[in-house]
Amino acid sequence: MSVLEISTPLTAALRRGLKAGQQVLLSGVIYAARDAAHLRFMAALEKGEALPIPLKDNLLYYVGPTPTRPGHVIGAAGPTTASRMDRFTPVLLELGLAGTIGKGFRSQTVIDAMVRHEAVYFGAIGGAGAVLAESIKKHDIIAYDDLGAEAVRRFEVERMPLIVLIDSQGNNWYETGPAAWRSRKER
């Protein structure tokens, strides 16, 4: 199984080369936000205010880490279920977001928006909190500190293990991966 090393910023040209089912190791800067932060993003946009993070060619990781133990960069930092953010994702893609990192199904509306903007949805392994924490080398809270675990963060990551779940053409590994396994069984 080939593993591809990629880095942010993730330009449209780079995104086009990523195919569903590809294992990748991601390095560079990514941003973290989940449920409560998305609600504030939407409120800010409604008021015409700027978001606290740059979106263009950047990736958003759906994560709410455990508190950082002294001597560590961050606590356990695995992904949360992405579908809870589905209602917010198309707007952020429209504004230039290159893709998202999480786990679980995405809605067809999100997939359609991803194809329009050539965005990518990466999967991180749910429950691999320690492995993913070790790939995070720097961690700063940059907005909504009062949200605790749900505050917006900036991470510098090195060789973060991910898989391309939905690619910029809309191919969905959650469909093709299990289907390929089933058809192997039936033969």
Binding site: M1, G21, Q23, V63, G64, P65, T66, P67, T68, R69, H72, G75, A76, A77, G78, T80, T81, S83, K103, G104, F105, G123, I125, G126, G127, A128, G129, A130, V131, A133, E134, G148, A149, P161, I163, W173, Y174, T176, G177, P178, A179, A180, W181, R182, K185
Partner: protein, 279 residues
């Protein structure tokens, strides 16, 4: 009568809450290793390898194994000869409060489901009490993650739906859960009782050791069959395709009404964090 100091209970809850988020039970680790060896999908093996590495890293480097350190669920089996010197429920909450602070665990509980202000200390734990014979107190503790809790379902089937109806509902629940619930899963199925008790025993079934055989051969047989059916769905580890969608199906059955067939399916992700102590 045994005079029981509730500080004992608070300490036991504290220990279990701290320990279980960092070190998972041996039965689960053994099942995961066996699943890794039996997995015939490359993506599946790769994923299980990372999950196994994660458990080692968690223990060695003092990271909780998963960032969703759960909502606490506690069962107390209280011997009828026990006399508590103070409020046992307060003692449970005190244990949880201290463990989540000292253990760098995430506080994931909101005080009201609609107004949603975080309680700040992961209390309250959900506590169920049962009175039993003797002068001991048994405390069973689970830290339940909500990726999988959200994928759980309950349905009031008709008696004529029978075994096949229940199996269909189990398969439907697992299919809809898919990757959202973080497979490989443990699937708890509560059948019978009333609406509420079907759900209760489904969760209690998740506490059984993986690899344990149901004492009733009828249900032991159903557990094996349904596990095969679930693992034929092909979701595999994390839903990336493969054999290991679930590690176990655990059924708990209760007497029920002539007109009813309640079924609750409680899903656990691969963070099967539970422990017990007899005090």
């Amino acid at each position: 009568m045994r005079e029981f100091d509730v500080a004992l209970l608070s300490e036991a809850v504290y220990d279990m809450a701290l320990h279980c988020c960092y070190i998972l039970p041996d039965d689960f680790k053994a099942a995961l290793r066996a699943a890794r060896d039996a997995e015939d999908s490359e993506q599946g093996r790769h994923t299980l390898d990372i999950i196994l590495t994660n458990l080692e890293l968690s223990e060695q480097m003092q990271y909780p194994a998963c960032q969703d350190t759960g909502m606490c669920v506690v069962w107390l089996e209280v011997g009828r000869e026990v006399h508590f010197n103070a409020d046992p429920y307060g003692a449970v909450q005190d244990g949880v409060r201290r463990a989540y602070k000292d253990g760098y665990l995430r506080k994931s509980v909101v005080g009201d489901p609609l107004r949603r202000t975080n309680t700040g200390d992961n209390t309250p734990a959900m506590v169920t009490t049962r009175i039993v014979a003797g002068d001991r107190v048994k405390a069973v503790y689970a830290a339940k993650g909500f990726g999988s809790e959200n994928a759980s379902q309950l349905k009031m089937l008709r008696p004529a739906d029978g075994v096949d109806g229940v199996m269909s509902f189990v398969l439907k629940t697992v299919s809809e859960a898919g990757p959202n619930a973080c497979p490989p899963l443990v699937v708890g199925v509560g059948i019978g009782g009333t609406f509420d008790h079907a759900a209760r025993v489904a969760k209690e079934a998740l506490m059984r050791p993986i690899g344990s055989i149901h004492p009733d051969p009828f249900y032991a047989d159903l557990e094996a069959k349904w596990l095969d059916q679930i693992n034929a769905l092909g979701y595999g580890p994390q839903g990336y395709g493969g054999r290991t969608t679930a590690l176990a199906v655990h059924i708990a059955a209760l007497p029920t009404h002539i007109a009813g067939l309640p079924v609750a399916v409680n899903i656990n992700c691969h963070m099967t964090r539970h422990e017990e102590r007899v005090l």
